[in-house]
C-alpha cells in the first residue's frame, strides 16, 4: 500500500503489543470494558479447559485419536470462532494490541478450523490434527488465564512464566501440526477442485484452492519466525527484565 501522501508518515510507529499489560503500563479502562473483558477471558479459559478435558477423556476411553476431532468439533468451532471478538477489542481500543497482528492470528485459526478441518473431511483423522489441537488448547488456556488474572490485578508468577515459556515448544509444534494437516489435505482438494472457480465466467476471475493452500503453506516461512522472535523478545523483556532489577537490589 502506498504511503500516506501529504503527511509522509516517516519512521512507522511500532505496533502496540501485549507487553503493556505485563510491564504494568495498563491503560485506564472503563468499568464496563474491564467487566466485559474479564467475563470474556474467564469464558474462553473455561471453554478451552472443557476442550482439553474432553480430548483427554476421549483418548482415555477410546485409546485412539480417530474420531477425536469429530467428538470435540462443535466446542472447538464455537470457542475458536468466538475469538473473532478479539479483533473488535483491538479496534475499539480496549485491548492495546494491534488490529493487524490479532487479525492475522485469529484469521489463521479460523482458516484452519473452517476451511481445512471442517471442510476437508478426510483429514479429520490425521495425527497432525491432534498435534495442533493439543498445542492450541494448552496455549489458549495459558493465554486466557494470563489475561484474566492480569485484569483482576492478581497475576501469579507461574502463569506469567507459563505464558512466556510454553510457546517456545508449543508454537513450533502447533505450526508443524497445521502444516502437516494442510499438506495431507492437498490431494483431496486437487481431486475435487473444491472452493475453486474456473474460466470462462461472467466476472472474469478464477480461484484455485489447491494453489491457495500451497501459497498459505509458503507464507508460514516468513510469518512464523517473525511471530516467534517477537514472543522471544517479549519474554526477555518481561521475565529477564525482572531478574536484572532483583540483582541490583
Amino acid at each position: 500500500m502506498a504511503s500516506s501522501e501529504e503527511d509522509g508518515t516517516n519512521g512507522g510507529a511500532s505496533e502496540a503489543s501485549e507487553e503493556k499489560e505485563a510491564t504494568g503500563r495498563r491503560r485506564r479502562l472503563g468499568f464496563l470494558a474491564t467487566a466485559w473483558l474479564t467475563f470474556y477471558n474467564i469464558a474462553m479459559t473455561a471453554g478451552w479447559l472443557v476442550l482439553a478435558i474432553a480430548m483427554v477423556r476421549f483418548y482415555m476411553e477410546k485409546g485412539t485419536h480417530r474420531g477425536l476431532y469429530k467428538s470435540i468439533q462443535k466446542t472447538l468451532k464455537f470457542f475458536q470462532t468466538f475469538a473473532l471478538l478479539e479483533i473488535v477489542h483491538c479496534l475499539i481500543g480496549i485491548v492495546p494490541t494491534s488490529v493487524l497482528v490479532t487479525g492475522v492470528q485469529v484469521s489463521s485459526r479460523i482458516f484452519m478450523v473452517w476451511l481445512v478441518t471442517h471442510s476437508i473431511k478426510p483429514v479429520q483423522n490425521e495425527e497432525s490434527v491432534v498435534l495442533f489441537l493439543v498445542s492450541w488448547t494448552v496455549t489458549e488456556i495459558t493465554r486466557y488465564s494470563f489475561y484474566t488474572f492480569s485484569l483482576l490485578d492478581h497475576l501469579p508468577y507461574f502463569i506469567k512464566w507459563a505464558r512466556y515459556n510454553f510457546f517456545i515448544i508449543l508454537y513450533p509444534v502447533g505450526v508443524a501440526g497445521e502444516l502437516l494437516t494442510i499438506y495431507a489435505a492437498l490431494p483431496y482438494v486437487k481431486k475435487t477442485g473444491m472452493f475453486s472457480i474456473r474460466l470462462p465466467n461472467k466476472y472474469n476471475v478464477s480461484f484455485d484452492y489447491y494453489y491457495f493452500l500451497l501459497i498459505t503453506m509458503a507464507s508460514y516461512i516468513p510469518l512464523f519466525p517473525q511471530l516467534y522472535f517477537h514472543m522471544l523478545r517479549q519474554r526477555r523483556k518481561v521475565l529477564h527484565g525482572e531478574v536484572i532489577i532483583e540483582k541490583d537490589d
Binding site: M1, E6, D7, L199, V205
Partner: protein
C-alpha cells in the same frame, strides 16, 4: 529528571517539574510526549515555542528515497506489465496463444485506457506535481511496487486472457464505462493542475483549494480531495468496462486507502484554516 541513553550515556532528555510521586510509567509518557511533531525546514528559531534555551531532538528516519523515484517506478511497472499480458508474451497463457490478439474490441480499448492512465501519472509526476516532502522511507518502494505491480498483473491476466468474457450488456455498457473513465481522467488532471497552481514553484506553501473556471474543479465545493474522488471514479469506470472482479477489488482497496488519506488531509485543512468551507466532505460528497 535526567534521562540518558543506556548504551552511549548521552543526555537524551531533561524533564523538569516532575512530581516525586510520579510513577516510572508517567515519566516514560512525559519523555515520549516531549518529542512531539517534527519541525519544518522553513521554521524560524525565534518563532518556536521555546524559552531562552531550545532543545531539539534528532530522529533518524532511516534510509530514504525520493518521492519522484518511487512514483516513477511504481507507475512504470503497471504500464509495462499490462502490455506484457496484452501482447500475450510467451509463458503466460498456453503456447498456442503466444503473441495472438484478442477478438474482443473492449480488450483493446481497455489496454488503451489502462496505458493512458499510467502515462498520465508518469507525466504528472515529472511535470505537474509539487511535493511537500522530498523523500519517504526506503521500504515504501517495495511495499508500493508490490501493490501496484501485483494488482496490474492480476487484472491484466484476466482481461487479456483467451477465455475472457466481454461485458454482459455489450457496447452500451462499454460506452457508459468509457464516458465515466474519460470524465474522471479529465477531472483528476484538472484537480492536479489546480493544486499545482496553488503553490508557486519551489515553495511548500499551503492554501485552501477553491473551484476555478474549469467545471471539473467545481467538485471542490463538495469535497476536500476531488483528485481522489475522480481517481476512484476512473477505476469504477474501468471495472464496468472490463466487467472483471479483480479490477473491482483493486478499486475497492484503492478507495479504502484514498479515503484514509482524504480524511487525514481534510483534518489538517480544518486544523490549519479557521475559515475552511463547512460543506466539504473528505472524498465522497455529503457522505464520506
Amino acid at each position: 529528571v535526567e534521562i540518558l541513553d543506556a548504551k552511549t550515556r548521552e543526555k537524551l532528555c531533561f524533564l523538569d517539574k516532575v512530581e516525586p510521586q510520579a510513577t516510572i510509567a508517567e515519566i516514560k509518557n512525559l519523555f515520549t510526549k516531549t518529542q512531539g511533531r517534527s519541525l519544518k525546514d522553513e521554521d524560524v528559531l525565534q518563532k518556536l515555542p521555546v524559552g531562552t534555551t531550545a532543545t531539539l531532538y534528532f530522529r533518524d528516519l532511516g534510509a530514504q528515497i525520493s518521492w519522484v523515484t518511487v512514483f516513477l517506478t511504481e507507475y512504470a511497472g503497471p504500464l509495462f506489465i499490462y502490455l506484457l499480458f496484452y501482447f500475450r508474451v510467451p509463458f503466460i497463457y498456453g503456447h498456442k496463444y503466444d503473441f495472438t490478439s484478442s477478438r474482443h474490441s473492449v480488450v483493446h480499448l481497455a489496454c488503451i485506457c489502462h496505458s493512458f492512465h499510467y502515462v498520465k501519472r508518469l507525466l504528472e509526476t515529472l511535470f505537474v506535481h509539487r511535493f511537500s516532502h522530498g523523500t519517504m522511507p526506503l521500504r515504501n518502494i517495495f511495499k508500493n511496487c508490490t501493490y501496484y505491480w501485483g494488482f496490474a498483473a492480476w487484472m491484466a491476466y484476466y482481461i487479456n486472457h483467451p477465455l475472457y468474457t466481454p461485458p454482459t450488456y455489450g457496447a452500451q455498457q462499454v460506452k457508459l464505462a468509457l464516458a465515466i473513465f474519460v470524465i474522471c481522467q479529465l477531472g483528476n488532471f484538472s484537480i492536479h493542475m489546480a493544486l499545482r497552481d496553488l503553490r508557486p514553484a519551489g515553495s511548500k506553501t499551503r492554501k485552501i483549494p477553491y473551484p476555478t473556471k474549469n467545471p471539473f474543479t467545481w467538485l471542490f465545493l463538495l469535497v476536500s480531495c476531488p483528485n481522489y474522488t475522480y481517481e476512484v471514479g476512473s477505476w469504477i469506470g474501468f471495472a464496468i468496462m472490463t466487467q472483471c472482479l479483480p479490477v473491482a477489488l483493486f478499486s475497492l482497496v484503492g478507495f479504502t486507502q484514498m479515503t484514509i488519506w482524504a480524511k487525514g488531509k481534510h483534518r489538517s485543512y480544518l486544523k490549519e484554516f479557521r475559515d475552511y468551507p463547512p460543506l466539504r466532505m473528505p472524498i465522497v460528497p455529503f457522505l464520506l
